[in-house]
Structures are given as structure tokens and as C-alpha cells.
Symmetry: C2
Subunit: 324 residues, 2 copies
């Protein structure tokens, strides 16, 4: 711990989600010293949202000894742009769905500390590098398997932001030409198949287009989630197992292609779907092994995030603050 860290031993992390905004005050070892949360929605203007955040924050800032103990703040947010500290056209945020919101500056002006912002998957990657299984790694790819598929890419020990701050959208690499329609308006994106939503979609497709028996037939098709598929697979349901086999296979094929880009030391998977464990990880590894170029074979590790799911997003966000 250097001198500055001794004087200002904490950073604030904000995991800004579509529903909740979760704050943590974190020390350099990744211990969350204080935490609070507010709803993300219900504010017409971003200024009102920031006001509500600061009010909630003041309580936990006092708990750790006041703002003087805090070095910086890091924010992980959908459609976050690191270079500009902005959230840009985020479809699920009422106060940012239709423009460019300078959120880092708004917080910095109110709190009087430096504030950095990046997208949630990048925050997860930085968190993993500082606190998780990527400690010591200089080259890895983080893939977040949630409602969507996100990614954060680290090369030469640095986060890849690209020329515009929006690099690392591997969920929108096209894995099936003219495949499923994606939320982004294009067809066949990795996200359409390998997100939690994609897994549920695969389940519905298989139930509709075949007569095969499955525990999933006991549920209303439109209510099936990836968790249901995981539970059914755990009970030995053949169709559910095949869904994870299919999903993992597509992810593994995609990883084989990603290796040709930056030959990472590891692919690290994060998010609810990783709870399926070997059910998803084994087909990923198998498909990578079958598809990867010979010079990369057997080199990359396939890991599940080392961060506790509940606090990982806040830790990741705080990690962006440590980089300042």
C-alpha cells in the first residue's frame, strides 16, 4: 500500500443496473466496508438521480470517516463510455435512453473526487484483474453471461476501449449468418444464443418444433428461464442437457475465433449462467478444442469468475476507480 492509499484508503463503486443502483465503499484488498442502494428508475432527469445517489452515499461516506478518506469513484453502467465518462443512448435508463449523459462529471462535481465510468462488462474484467481469478494476468477475455452477453478484453495488462470507448462487444459478433434476430436489429449475434434469454429461446424453439419429452413441458413456454433449463438438466432431463450442450458449443466456437484475435491466457465467464457449472463449461471447452487453430490449442484456460456474485459488480465498478 503506497502513501496515497494510506491517506485515502477507499474508493466508491457504483453498480448501475437497470433496476437497482448499488454502492459500495471498498478498500484496496476488495473488502466492502459499507454499502447502500437506491432504485435506478423514477427520476425524469439525471440530476435528480444523482441527487438521490449523493444523499444515500453521504450516510456510508460518514461511516468510513468522511469524503477525505476516499480516493475516487468508479461506475459500471450499461452503454458506459470510459473516454468521455458518459452513458450514451442506454435503452433501459429513462434519464439516458435518448442522449449522452455526462454522469462521471456530475458525480465528480458533487463529490469533489475523480470519477471514472465504464460499461458493466469492462468493470467486471477490471474487478477480476484486481480482486479475482485474473490477478497477475496481462491478457484475458471476460465474457458475461446474463440477460445479454457482454465482454471486457484486457491486452498487455490494459483494458481495451478502442478508438471510441466502445470496444469489446463480443456478444454482437455474428455466429450464425442470417440466424436469430437480435435486440440490436441484426441477425445471428452470439447474444441471441448464449445469453440467459437465448437459452430460454432455444428451449422454446425445441419444445415447439419437436415432440420430445421434457420436464420443461410442465412450464408455460413464455415463462421458461435459463434457470429452469439448468434445474431440469440437473435432474437428468435430456432435452435440457442438449440445450446447454448447444449453448456451450456455440460459445466454444466463438472463443476459438476470439483466440485468433488476442491469444488470451484465459477466458473468464461471469454471470448467473455460470451457476450451471460443467453443464455449460464442458461443452465450451470441447468446442474450443475442436475449433481452435493448432498454435493456440490447449493454451487458454477456461475459468469461472472468482468474485462473489452479489458483490462482484460493485467490486468491479470500484476497481475502475482504483485505476484513476
Amino acid at each position: 500500500m503506497n502513501e496515497q492509499t494510506a491517506l485515502k484508503p477507499y474508493v466508491i463503486g457504483l453498480d448501475l443496473g437497470g433496476t437497482n443502483s448499488v454502492f459500495g465503499i471498498v478498500d484496496s484488498r476488495g473488502e466492502i466496508k459499507a454499502t447502500t442502494a437506491i432504485k435506478t428508475q423514477g427520476y425524469g432527469k439525471v440530476e435528480d438521480y444523482v441527487d438521490a445517489c449523493v444523499t444515500a452515499l453521504q450516510v456510508i461516506i460518514e461511516q468510513v470517516g468522511g469524503i477525505d478518506k476516499i480516493k475516487a469513484m468508479g461506475i459500471g453502467a450499461p452503454n458506459g463510455n470510459y473516454y468521455n465518462g458518459t452513458i450514451e443512448f442506454a435503452p433501459n435508463l429513462e434519464w439516458a435512453h435518448n442522449g449522452v449523459v455526462p454522469l462521471a462529471k456530475l458525480f465528480s462535481d458533487r463529490l469533489g473526487i475523480p470519477v471514472a465510468l465504464t460499461n458493466d462488462a469492462n468493470a467486471a474484467a477490471i474487478g477480476e484483474m484486481i480482486y479475482g481469478v485474473a490477478r497477475g494476468m496481462k491478457n484475458f477475455i471476460m465474457i458475461t453471461l446474463g440477460t445479454g452477453v457482454g465482454s471486457g478484453i484486457v491486452i498487455n495488462g490494459q483494458m481495451v476501449y478502442g478508438s471510441d470507448g466502445f470496444a469489446g462487444e463480443l456478444g454482437h459478433v455474428i455466429v450464425r449468418r442470417d440466424g436469430r434476430t437480435c435486440g440490436c436489429g441484426r441477425k445471428g449475434c452470439l447474444e441471441c444464443y448464449c445469453s440467459a434469454t437465448g437459452v430460454a429461446r432455444t428451449a422454446r424453439e425445441l419444445l415447439e418444433t419437436t415432440e420430445r419429452p421434457s420436464l420443461l413441458r410442465e412450464l408455460k413456454p413464455e415463462e421458461i428461464t435459463s434457470l429452469d433449463v439448468s434445474i431440469a438438466a440437473g435432474k437428468g432431463d435430456e432435452l435440457a442437457n442438449e440445450i446447454y450442450q448447444f449453448t456451450g458449443h456455440l460459445l466454444g466456437e466463438a472463443c476459438a475465433d476470439f483466440a485468433a484475435f488476442c491469444s488470451p491466457e484465459a477466458f473468464i465467464f461471469f454471470g448467473g449462467m455460470t451457476k450451471a457449472g460443467d453443464l455449460i463449461m464442458n461443452p465450451i471447452k470441447e468446442a474450443d478444442e475442436e475449433n481452435v487453430l493448432k498454435i493456440y490449442k490447449g493454451k487458454a484456460k477456461f475459468l469461472v469468475s472468482g468474485l462473489d456474485g452479489a458483490s462482484a459488480a460493485v467490486l468491479g465498478a470500484s476497481a475502475v476507480g482504483w485505476e484513476l
Copy 2:
């Protein structure tokens, strides 16, 4: 020019190809002061090859004032590994097809100067960054369209070597699942379609499977090259034009996916096939525009290398030396 550059104003560049090894002594502005070449083949052992190189080099080293004027040497070579300074299992080099050859060290020991080595596409990218159209760019992707398809990726102003020194093999990203068989043993790689060899293969396929008229029918199918296709297209041959349309379209689709990785400022194309000009560049741009994720649309430039073809490979190799 700093003091060290004033004392040692030159680097040696070696463009090590399957047929010829071309040397240039280059100054910091990219001017080639002296040049020589030997055949790459005809040496059973790498030591004999290095002996022959050094003998040829001594003549041009004297021309520029002796070895004291030379800062370093850079080598661009197939299957070159930057981290280790080695050539590894290069199928077309008799003295390196079956093992790992420490070529950088062999040259460094003989010449008494630092020597760096990387693969030819990476050398081209570094050359472009120092002397060509990528001057001032921090994020770009170089795609070399030759007998094969190679790539060199620059992120945050640094060459991407990955965890093992072999990053950037975008010619082996799979663009058509279960597509054409590739030299690498897999199927559907970008290289099978968009290299000069791939273009000739597309021509043969179209001539065989259709009855369509074409100037290309005047040639023996097995002797058709991408240059023939380019010449026929230039004469208005419809089939030949369609071949370039198809090739460029696949490249553009691939670039759209590559953008999701590192959102580059530019894609820079290098190699014989770029002589086809708009014939290849227009369909690349069109397909990228049609396929790229909305946030990247209209951002990346599509450029042709700014380096003179004859000297580009030597300049690129020398540029690797300047990085030392």
C-alpha cells in the same frame, strides 16, 4: 531525432520470405540507404543460412559506415514469435519447418546488436504505424491479402502479441461454418476465401459449377490467379466482377465482427490484391456498413497501405528494430 539516433542512425530490416530474404538499411524517416538479398532456401541448417546473410550484410553495412552506425535489426518472418525471437514450425522454411529456431539470437550473436523478430503481418502493421497511413493512430487492424490472409493488430498504440506471441491470426477466423477446407486443417477460414489463392479458387468454382460466359474461360482453370480475375474484371467481365464482389463482401462482414473486438480507427489493407482498388475496397465497405453494430457505424476508415509494395516488407521489418 534524439541523441542516440544521431549516433546510430540506422536499423537493418530483413524481410524473410519463403523464396527471398531481402535486407535494407533504413534511417528513421524510412529511407532505405542500402539493400541486398539472398535466396532463403538451399541451407540445410539455420547456421548456414545466417552465415550467408551476414556475408551479404557486411557489404551494405560498410556502405553506410560500419556496424557502429546501426542501432538494431528487425526481422519479419513467417511464424515469427516476438516474445522468443524464434521462428516456430514454419512449413515453407527447410531450416525451420520442424522445430523452433532462435533466429533473433543467432543474428544478435553474430552482429553484436539487438535483434527483434515478429511475423510478417505484424511487421507490416508496425511499418504502417511508423512510416505509412497509420502514423498517429493508436488503434487499427492491418490485414494483409497475399497468398494467405495475415493480420497485425495495434491497440493503445501497442502491437498485440497475446499471451504467447502468436496473436492476430484473423485469416483463420471461421467465416463459413463447414466451409472450404483451409491449409490449417480446419474449415471455412477467412483465408480460404479472401486470399489471392481464395480468389482463384472462387473463380474455378464458378467456372466449373456454372455455364456463365467469362474471359476467364480462355485460361486453364488450374493456372488462374487473382491477377487474372482482376484484369478480367477491369475489362468489364461480369463473372470476374462478381468474384471480387463476393470476396470483398466476406471481408467486410469479417471487419464488422472485428470492430466488436477493438473498435479500430481504421482497417488497413496491404498486399497484391489491394491493386484491384475499388473493385475490392467498395464491397468491403458496403458489407461492413450493412453488418456492423450501430454504435460502430461510419467510424472506422478503410484504407490501403501507404507503403510502396516493393520496399514495404523491408520497412516493416526495420520498424520492429526501431521499437527496441
